[in-house]
């Protein structure tokens, strides 16, 4: 089974082709360049390099959120277009879950964190001691302080991944003895991990049609969504 996967959910962008559990090809860039300019050339290069035609793909996967507003739309629009054109199934992967697949075979809890700004993160927790990451909570948006108090209840090693990992590590390393920062090479979302997460969804029959594929934005808690400073008068 051939899975094509794409990720444009944050600053980096990547595409990968995984066939029966083997990464046949993967392109990853982490520059300030715009995904709308880099994604399709990477897709083209990937298919040419691995000598596979898009029509031979069994499932197209994409990280659907959480993530950047524009970034998610670029990746999803591209996958929507390809699956519409070739009439293929899609797998909508949680960005946070995909990152848990960067780390397997560790007896630990993966704490996936993406920077949502203003001391908030998008987060989910996964136990990775088994064959596949076991989800411990739904994807959510919360204050870093709130996350710290939740993590106090975990005795296992906790490994931080995601673009909020550095930020969280700085805040948590003093307070939590069992917190670790993942290595740079496995810290960020990768399309190959998206493909592995998609494989599990495909096995469970959790697949979508092109038109069902949508971004999954997470809402911040009400208190954090207040834009106006209390003292400031809105004089418009």
């Amino acid at each position: 089974m051939k899975i094509f996967a794409a990720d444009t959910s944050a600053k980096s962008a990547s595409v990968a082709l995984v066939e029966n559990g083997v990464i046949k090809g993967e392109y990853f860039i982490n520059t300030m360049l715009t995904h709308s300019e880099t994604l399709m050339p990477m897709v083209d290069l990937l298919f040419k390099s691995v000598r596979v035609q898009p029509k031979d793909i069994d499932c197209f996967a994409v990280n659907c959120g959480p993530g950047s507003f524009t970034g998610l739309r670029i990746g999803i629009a591209a996958v929507k277009g390809m699956t519409f054109a070739f009439d293929k199934p899609c797998a909508a992967v949680s960005t946070l879950e995909s990152m848990a697949y960067n780390l397997t075979a560790e007896n630990a809890v993966v704490c996936a964190v993406m920077d949502a700004r203003c001391s908030q993160v998008y987060n989910a927790l996964f136990d990775i001691s088994g064959n596949e990451p076991l989800r411990l909570c739904e994807d959510r948006a919360l204050q870093i302080d709130q996350l710290i108090s939740e993590l106090r209840n975990i005795d296992k090693r906790i490994i931080l991944v995601g673009d909020g990992a550095n930020l969280c590590f700085e805040r948590m390393s003093q307070e939590l003895e069992n917190i670790e920062l993942s290595n740079e090479n496995v810290r960020y979302q990768r399309a190959s991990s998206t493909a592995f997460a998609a494989e599990k969804l495909f096995e469970k029959g959790e697949i979508l049609t092109s038109s069902q594929l949508m971004p999954r934005y997470l809402r911040l808690p009400q208190a954090q969504r207040e834009l106006l400073a209390k003292k400031s008068l809105n004089n418009k």
Binding site: M32, S68, F69, T70, G71, A116, R117, C118, Y217, R219, L220, Q224, R225, E226, L227, L228, A229, S232, L233, N234, N235, K236
Partner: protein, 140 residues
């Protein structure tokens, strides 16, 4: 905090140049001050000092204008931004750290501004053509 008084366009252009010279490329500049205070005029002065050939205009309807210059400059108008979802869907958070963001009507998104934001408060001076600029967070 730097206080700068301007009585004409020429002086505002000088202020724009001083601000432009102090930038390193990823600042957020937030304006506070009501209608007709000269926010767009100051923005034009800053961006022209950065060497743009683009036309600088108020992004009231487009929400964000993009100018190519020494740095990428993203010029926002938050007048019609009323909720966190509105702000998120402007791509504001995606633009942070990728260039200089200049934000009109920052009052509307004050809680979402990064900690190191450069704040420029504009008030009227003694007469109609005089403006007082209070600049916090940037040495000019």
């Amino acid at each position: 905090m730097t206080v700068f008084k301007s009585t004409d366009l020429n002086q505002t252009e000088q202020l724009g140049k001083r601000i432009a010279d102090a930038l390193t490329g990823t600042e957020v500049i937030a304006y506070f001050g009501g209608l007709g205070m000269g926010k767009t005029t100051l923005t034009r002065a800053i961006v022209e000092a950065l060497g743009t050939e683009d036309n600088v205009s108020s992004p009231t309807f487009s929400i964000v204008n993009e100018y190519k210059s020494k740095y990428n400059v993203y010029h926002f108008d938050m007048y019609r931004v009323e909720s966190w979802e509105d702000l998120y869907s402007t791509g504001f958070f995606d633009y942070l750290d990728t260039g200089v963001l200049i934000v009109e009507w920052s009052e509307n998104i004050e809680n979402a501004l990064p900690e190191n934001t450069v704040r420029i408060t504009i008030t009227k001076g003694e007469n109609d053509s005089e403006r007082i600029f209070e600049i916090e967070g940037l040495e000019i």
